[in-house]
């Protein structure tokens, strides 16, 4: 782990993003419901840093990522770029030391689905020229073209003259992803949010794409916030960069640390579930047939469970877990490994707390309809 002194590039401070969920036409007189997409997250991303956020669909990882690069306004907490509050800069509030334009350029994104993020009617050259024209208006057409050709070559799309004149549908998925990556890199960003940037690719191409990201990180001194549901990909990137892996569950980071810590010594029961879900190739690896989890489906983020949000699915949950929510605390003597689970503290009252009894063992359907309120007698 590198020394992480100095000012972070991006700093999230107790960030919260709640979306109002508009009801149907007939619900206009009801109180609005809020989806708690992100809840009380603290995260620092440094120069040349790598952070992977892992979790299931709906855990808030994409929302958190978008908040970190300043395209999603948080409903609570602060997002700072090199000390400057991103949204104060946008609104022109207070002393703005870094203009919002500059922040927007410094924080870039590549999308999950590269095909849909490229304009189907524009050639690669046109797609890549427009951001350059906007941000570097003094550049001549020839310089622009030379720069774009250089980048195409660098990501292995040779001959660049040929690729530059193609339309997105004439590119493979991996090539589209490369073009999206170039578009982000042309801005010379400090941080790139890569949202499921490799998951859609064929297995054999993933390592290739990840190697490219690593090479470019080196060349351009960029940090990455890498979002995925796949631990294997996150591990590859985090191990090669000396970065961190953060595990998200229902809007909260429940465990974070180096890959050795999070995968080699997972502390949170949810991390163990994700590890189980990551099938292993080796037939001799110990595999358990059933998931170490009580419920397969994720609870409704409109009405998340009380206490520790994972307690409704957690095989280790005790009564205290349903009442209070654990903080993201350091594990043992590590300075990088944190987890939000009472089980890391040998003296915690958790150990004396009664186990959740079977009546509390809610069924899947009850969770999804809003909580263990209805009796199960009607289900039969």
């Amino acid at each position: 782990m590198n020394e992480r002194d100095g000012q972070p590039v991006v700093e999230l401070d107790d960030v919260e993003v709640h979306f109002e969920q508009s009801g149907g036409l007939f619900d206009i007189f009801d109180d609005p419901e809020y989806v708690q997409a992100v809840n009380g997250v603290n995260l620092e991303i440094h120069e040349n840093d790598f952070v992977a956020l892992i979790g299931e669909s709906g855990c808030g990882k994409t929302t958190l990522g978008k908040t970190a690069i300043g395209i999603q306004r948080p409903t609570g907490g602060d997002v700072r770029y090199r000390g400057q509050d991103v949204w104060a800069a946008k609104d022109g509030k207070g002393d703005v030391s870094i203009p919002h334009d500059k922040i927007r350029r410094a924080l870039q994104m590549i999308h999950q689905d590269p095909g849909s993020s490229l304009n189907p009617n524009k050639t690669v050259l046109k797609s890549l020229s427009s951001p350059l024209r906007r941000w570097e208006p003094e550049m001549t057409t020839d310089d622009r073209e030379a720069r774009i050709h250089g980048m195409l070559e660098r990501v292995g799309m040779k001959p660049p003259e040929d690729y530059a004149n193609r339309f997105p549908h004439q590119l493979s998925g991996g090539e589209q992803q490369r073009v999206a990556l170039i578009r982000a890199l042309l801005m010379n960003p400090d941080l790139i949010l890569a949202d499921e940037a490799v998951s859609a690719l064929d297995v054999s191409l993933r390592v290739d794409m990840m190697d490219l990201l690593l090479e470019l990180q080196d060349q351009f001194d960029t940090s990455f916030l890498f979002i995925s549901h796949n631990l294997s990909n996150a591990r590859y990137m985090a191990e090669k960069t000396g970065g961190r892996i953060g595990i998200m569950y229902l809007g909260e980071i429940v465990e974070i640390g180096t890959p050795d810590e999070v995968l080699g010594n997972p502390q949170h029961p949810y991390t163990k579930v994700l590890k189980w879900a990551t099938a292993t190739l080796h037939p001799d690896a110990e595999t358990v047939a059933q998931p170490p989890i009580r419920e397969v489906d994720v609870p409704d983020p409109v009405d998340p469970p009380s206490g520790c949000r994972f307690h409704t699915r957690c095989p280790e949950a005790r009564e205290v877990c349903a009442e209070r929510s654990p903080e993201l605390d350091l594990v043992g003597t590590s300075e990088t490994h944190r987890t939000a689970c009472y089980r890391i503290d040998d003296d915690h009252e958790y150990w004396d707390s009664p186990e959740l009894s079977d009546e509390d063992d809610v069924t899947l359907a009850q969770i999804e309809s809003g909580g263990p309120t209805e009796s199960s007698a009607t289900d039969d």
Partner: protein, 352 residues
Amino acid sequence: MQNPQTTSVRDGTDDTVIEVRDVSVSFDMDRGRSRVLDEMSVDIRRGEILGVVGESGSGKSMFASALLDAVVNPGTVTGEITYYPEPDRPVDLLNLSDAELRRTRWEDISMVFQGAMSSWNPTLTVGNHFKETLDVHDADLEEGMDRARELLSSLYLEPDRVLNSYPHELSGGMKQRALIALALVLEPNVLVMDEPTAALDLLMQRSIIALLDNLKHQYDLTMVFITHDLELVANFADRLAVLYAFQVAEIGPSRDIVLNSRHPYTRALINSTPNLDTPVELMRPIEGDSPDPVNIPEGCSYTSRCPLAEGPCSNIDPDLYEVSETHSTACHHWEQVDDEIPLSLEEVQYYE
């Protein structure tokens, strides 16, 4: 028939439920004839889980469509696919009348396609989908709905709630599980699944796989599980067939395919698959591109990417060589593969 059986894909047991012989699928295109399945021969054994692994454009989805004679126009299928509902009652799947074909699909061989979301009619409740399916196949409604409830509960779903819901009211994982229940409601012998879990989270994917394993035993099913994700099926399937460029590159018991593969492509695929165990330095991408279906090269289609290519590789397309009674590989140099191409899995360091 005139099949000379130069190479054997037989495996000792005679209990084959579907026999695929020299099946090709081709499309005529402006640029020429595109072969998207090339003389493929496979035996699917009764009661097994056969994993079919291939990358995009390897022909794996065509294989699924061919099994149900569901290749869309203007594609043409040649070869033979024989289904054995019982060991000595062959049914020629490619020459059924429309009515027979309709009955065979669902009642004998059922299928779950990629993208569960589009398989549902948004204006019908899930329950109505079940009723309609039972009705079209003249099945006993009450008995069928009881079975539907039983299937849904064994997939961790709450039957009444799911049956009364419209598809959009269910999450992706729930819809996918309901679709599997629907595919099984007529008690088919064979369930063919084409990337049934691809759009889902890993946790849901693995949970569904665990459930499929239970279902297989409960309902005495044969399963064909088609995926690009070797990691997902390696520990679940009894046997694996690795497809490369519209043909079977290698087929055998899963353990042999993962730990003792004798095809350079299989080894490259395993070495390139990100996983939690292999040291990251040993994970390698596969160099080069897979061939264009219009211009399949003469000889072995893996030649341009293969470190062992020499001699016959450039002009003789390898048949399947027998590595053992149960394990076959389409590589002229299969005997050198083990020495020449190390497997990164051998260096596994377990986290724990």
